[in-house]
């Protein structure tokens, strides 16, 4: 299921919510990749777009207090109610005397349920668009035959790595059919990471971070992932990683362990804001990350 289908389903859901609650004047959903879906299907006014995007900035600031759940603005001529669900935000412009408890109940049930159903459908069909709420990190195996082979000796591992690299170079264009099949399977199936002896790559969800002392070339990855890569490649530690966006942009960064406990084990890669800007990345997007072998550097 692709992003467009999510947007269509959310748009329909918003329209239905608007039918149930006549107090709602306008509805929007700010998706975790920054896309704004309008309930009436009309083009979004730039002022409204900017305002809704400011919610994303507020949500970032609210990370220090555990994230943003709800925001209610009570104005003289109406209200705005922003509510978080599955890592996305619904933004609703309401009349002055809107029944908030009823609205909370309706949106709190309908939107998460629809996402759950969509995720269910998405996992059965090809090419799901992973959401922030589903921190499942599917691996992208490149050479199927080596997947089930146990890692017997270190020498064997090294040899196979070299062979794989040579093979990869020789057969790069066109890509072997098996590789493509393996990649497609990895994208469609949701399964725990498996051991490989070729150069591993992993899809991770982008999370931005910033600060005065943050170096733009340092990214943060789960300790488990770095450890798995270092044992797989038989190196002391993974010092650098290659990042590749799905639009094809690449960069090499120093790899650090995620320093904040609350971001651990969620399949995230924390990238400095400047680097995100340079790569055109938004929070919640998926990127491919590969460790860099010491001799590659």
């Amino acid at each position: 299921m692709n992003e467009e289908m999510y947007a269509t389903a959310l748009k329909t859901a918003l329209a239905e919510i608007q039918n149930v609650c006549p107090d709602i004047n306008q509805t929007f959903v700010l998706m975790d990749n920054g896309t704004i879906v309008s309930g009436d299907g009309q083009a979004i006014d730039p002022h409204i777009e900017r305002a809704i995007n400011s919610v994303q900035s507020l949500a970032e600031k609210a990370l220090s207090v555990g994230g943003l759940d709800d925001l209610l603005i009570d104005g003289d001529e109406g209200k705005v109610y922003v509510s978080q669900f599955n890592g996305m935000y619904s933004v609703m412009a309401l009349s002055k005397h809107a029944d908030l408890p009823f609205l909370r109940t309706v949106t709190g049930i309908i939107l998460p349920t629809i996402l759950k159903v969509l995720n269910g459908i998405g996992s059965e069909t090809a090419l799901p668009t992973p959401l922030k709420s589903a921190p499942i990190v599917p691996p992208t195996p490149q050479f199927r035959p080596t997947l089930s082979e146990p890692l017997a000796k270190d020498e064997e591992v090294e040899e196979t790595v070299e062979e794989s690299e040579e093979e990869a170079e020789e057969t790069l264009p066109p890509e072997p059919l098996e590789t493509r099949e393996a990649e497609t399977e990895a994208e469609t199936e949701v399964e725990p990471p498996r051991e490989r002896i070729d150069l591993p790559s992993q899809q991770l969800i982008v999370d931005k971070f910033g600060g005065l002392m943050v170096r733009a070339d340092n990214v943060q990855i789960d300790f488990e992932i770095l450890e798995r890569w270092s044992s797989l490649l038989d190196v002391k530690e993974i010092q650098e990683v290659d990042i590749e966006t799905f639009s094809g942009k690449k960069t090499r960064c120093k790899a650090k362990v995620i320093s904040d406990q609350k971001f651990e084990g969620r399949g995230l890669i924390r990238i400095p804001e400047k680097t995100c800007e340079a790569l055109g990345l938004k929070r919640g997007e998926l990127i491919r990350v590969k460790p860099v072998l010491p001799e590659e550097r």
Partner: protein, 131 residues
């Protein structure tokens, strides 16, 4: 738990005839006294009182002062932007709920007040008291 109170008062110096300095000071003191009383309630974490030239911060956990100040400023900015975009008129109050805490933001005269509290605290009674 030690309570750290930061008072960043900047005096404007000049006063117009119709607003004697003593009265303005008294007004600020009234709000601050009221906020101090509210802060003593169970579940209330602290407050930030902003005026055009001064700010008073009283948060129970001093290590959180910057986080809370940044969040409160960002919430005000976002609320302003949303109010303008959706033509809500003047926002009488704003409530931001996070995972573990809640912030009530309101404007009283030239003062912008942010009250930080645990999620189970009834913010409407605080709002009524401050408004």
């Amino acid at each position: 738990m030690p309570v750290k109170k930061k008072s960043l008062q900047v005096e404007t110096g000049e006063q117009v005839d119709w607003a004697p300095k003593a009265e303005v000071k008294e007004h600020v003191t009234d709000i601050r006294n009221l906020l101090d009383r509210i802060k003593a309630r169970e579940g209330v974490i602290g407050y930030i009182l902003r005026a055009s030239t001064s700010a008073t911060v009283d948060i129970k956990d001093p290590s959180k002062i910057i986080d809370y100040a940044v969040l409160s400023a960002s919430a005000l900015e976002s609320a302003e932007s949303l109010s303008e975009a959706f033509k809500l008129g003047a926002a009488s109050n704003i409530v931001v709920e996070g995972k573990g805490l809640k912030i009530l933001l309101l404007t009283k005269g030239e003062h912008r007040i942010s009250v930080f509290m645990e999620k189970n605290v009834d913010h409407t009674s605080i709002y009524k008291e401050l408004h």
